[in-house]
């Protein structure tokens, strides 16, 4: 159960008083203003809102890609706002998988090597890495494309590889920033179905930023951000 105004402890993600301020010269831009948020393990949450509302910033803060100006972010009981440097890198490697709008695959690596990247940071043997990567690529339906380079794949296939890369180290948390933003309608549907399966069948906690109401409709909860403030939208009432 997602709560946007705080409450009892116990969720996988517990955000309290989260603020993010950017400075542009003398000017201060308040992107997030004292947010509270709780997300249970295994939930699929979509964040919507106009451009500049702070959706991506919130996702980046929860994923440890950016540091908050104030507030607390606890994920699985760990206070990540206090982690720095290598400790934060290790935390990301263990707990978070990212899916980006523009896929962000490494162009000189084929699908297999792209998916293998996070596993290079583990102690897994070459054979174990091979097994994990193969399984992840099978899961996203690309078992027959493992030696294809990004330039040899369609946009949808590239995003599937990116999802496989995000999943391969079996993180608890999957963060997706506009995963269908660069895809056509049909491919978007396929990718969103895959994301939904990851939440429902594999128990992943998925936080997704999207502008697409159809994509958001697949989420358990849709949260609207406006001017740095969260507003929970009742199920089945995603804004269009």
């Amino acid at each position: 159960m997602v709560r946007v105004n705080g409450g009892a402890d116990g969720g996988l993600i517990r955000v309290r008083g989260l603020s993010k301020v950017y400075r542009r010269g003398e000017e201060e831009i308040h992107v997030l203003r004292s947010l509270d948020l709780d997300v249970e393990a295994g939930e699929f949450v979509a964040f919507m809102g106009p451009s500049g509302s702070g959706k991506t910033t919130l996702l980046n803060l929860i994923g440890g890609l950016d540091m908050p100006s104030a507030g607390s972010i606890r994920v699985g009981g760990e206070e990540i706002a206090e982690l720095r440097g290598a400790a934060l890198s290790r935390w990301r490697a263990r707990h978070v998988g990212f899916v980006f709008q523009s896929f962000n695959l490494i162009p000189v690596l084929d699908a297999f090597d792209n998916v293998e990247l996070p596993l290079l940071l583990t102690r897994l043997s070459r054979a174990q890495r091979y097994a994990h990567v193969s399984a992840a690529l099978r899961l996203v339906g690309l078992a027959d494309r493992i030696r294809h380079y990004p330039r040899q794949l369609s946009g949808g296939q590239e995003q599937r590889v990116a999802i496989a890369r995000a999943l391969v180290s079996d993180p608890q948390l999957l963060l997706a920033d506009e995963p269908t933003g660069d895809l056509d309608r049909q491919t978007s549907g396929e990718i969103m179905e895959l994301v939904r399966r990851l939440a429902k069948e594999f128990g992943k906690t998925v936080l997704m930023v999207t502008h697409d109401p159809l994509a958001a409709a697949l989420a358990d909860t849709v949260i609207h951000l406006d001017k740095g403030v969260l507003v929970e939208v009742p199920q089945g009432a995603a804004p269009r």
């Binding site: 990301r92 290079l120 940071l121």
Partner: protein, 379 residues
């Protein structure tokens, strides 16, 4: 090792750029190798000079003679184990382009003072027995195809006339870097035949009992001949040979200057290339950071790319220089000691690796300092 394929893939990303950067390392290290060879050749073996040997020369100039009678007096001074003497003969073999040094030496003592130059006993005895005999070094023999028993004509430029010598021995160096490109003739034969500078020698070489007392021995010798018509200047053999080489200018300084410019240019070239390569990959580096790659690991990966480039290019350049030296002196005699020592190759490679690491680390440091969010925004 698990990151090596990733590093190699990144190197293969722009093949032409990689090739050209490795090529710049190869060219720089090739030049470095040749400069080392030239410097060493012009030093005429300064680096292999004996620690226990002193050279005694005329205080006025290295080209002014000393009396032959000084030898016996030097031999009686304390802390001197042995001594010998030599004269610069300065002749021409067939053509002036065939330059090589010739010295008139004392057949009894010269070999004792230079034990590191190896000569077969029977050959040395043949030289001692033949007043018109001569000895040549292995490099010189190979250069002109001399064989023991050959008769070698030398046209004198200081001591006029055409002199003919019988090749009685060929000497080798104990170490690869020992120069073996000289010719020795007999001092007594020169003394008997020449019409000028009779009763003189070019310089004396003294072996001391204890190298730690070299300064004291040098002072004793110079004080012994102070206020005479032929005052002496006694110095270590290394200083003496350096002075000999510096007659044509401070070659070592010149080579150091050229070498420094080459490596500075190399840092600029490879640093610029790596900076471009890293700038193109800012977004990828941000993605890798988001996957859990630490700043330190990314630094190492990028620097390793540059180091591999330096290693491959530098090795190729040094091997090319080494290969060139195997064909011998290309100047026809100006560089008689044409040899690239393994230690110099190793030093060159270390320099290349250092340049590679620096040129990779500087842009990589800037890249990892960029936040993930800023890096991703650069896509």
């Amino acid at each position: 090792m698990r990151f090596l394929p990733l590093i190699l893939r990144n190197l293969g990303r722009k093949k032409m750029r990689t090739l050209l950067t490795a090529g710049s390392f190869a060219a720089a290290l090739f030049l470095f190798g040749l400069l080392q060879v030239i410097g060493r050749s012009l030093d005429q073996g300064v680096e292999v000079a004996g620690a226990d040997r002193l050279a005694v020369r005329n205080r006025v100039s290295i080209i002014m003679p000393l009396p032959y009678s000084y030898g016996a007096q030097i031999g009686k001074l304390p802390n001197i184990r042995d001594y010998t003497w030599a004269v610069w003969f300065g002749g021409v073999y067939q053509d002036e382009r065939n330059f090589f040094p010739q010295f008139a030496v004392d057949a009894q003592s010269y070999h004792r003072v230079y034990p590191e130059l190896r000569i077969a006993d029977d050959q040395w005895q043949a030289f001692v027995a033949d007043r018109q005999g001569c000895v040549v070094g292995r490099d010189l023999a190979e250069r002109f195809g001399f064989q023991v028993g050959d008769r070698i004509p030398i046209r004198g430029t200081i001591f006029e006339g055409t002199w003919e010598f019988n090749l009685r021995a060929i000497y080798d160096g104990e170490r690869p870097e020992d120069p073996t490109s000289d010719m020795w003739i007999r001092y007594d034969y020169l003394e008997e035949t020449r019409e000028i500078l009779k009763g003189t020698v070019g310089w004396y070489v003294v072996r001391v009992d204890d190298p730690a007392r070299s300064d004291e021995v040098a002072r004793t010798i110079d004080e012994r001949f102070a206020n005479s018509s032929f005052e002496t200047r006694t110095e270590t053999e290394q200083a003496f040979l350096t002075g000999f080489a510096n007659q044509i200018g401070n070659v070592r300084l010149l080579i150091l200057s050229v070498g420094a410019v080459v490596f500075f240019t190399l840092i600029l070239v490879s640093g610029n290339t790596m900076a471009i390569a890293v700038r193109e990959r800012m977004a990828e580096l941000a993605v890798m950071k988001s996957l859990g790659f630490s700043n330190l690991l990314l630094l190492v990966l990028v620097a390793t790319e540059a180091v591999i480039l330096a290693l491959v290019g530098g090795s190729a350049g040094l091997l090319a220089a080494k290969t060139l030296t195997r064909f011998g002196d290309p100047t026809g005699g100006l560089l008689p000691f044409f040899y690239l020592a393994p230690a110099e190759m190793a030093f060159g490679l270390l320099l290349a690796l250092a340049v590679g690491a620096v040129s990779g680390l500087i842009p990589a440091t800037a890249a990892v300092r960029t936040t993930i969010v800023a890096g991703l925004r650069g896509i």
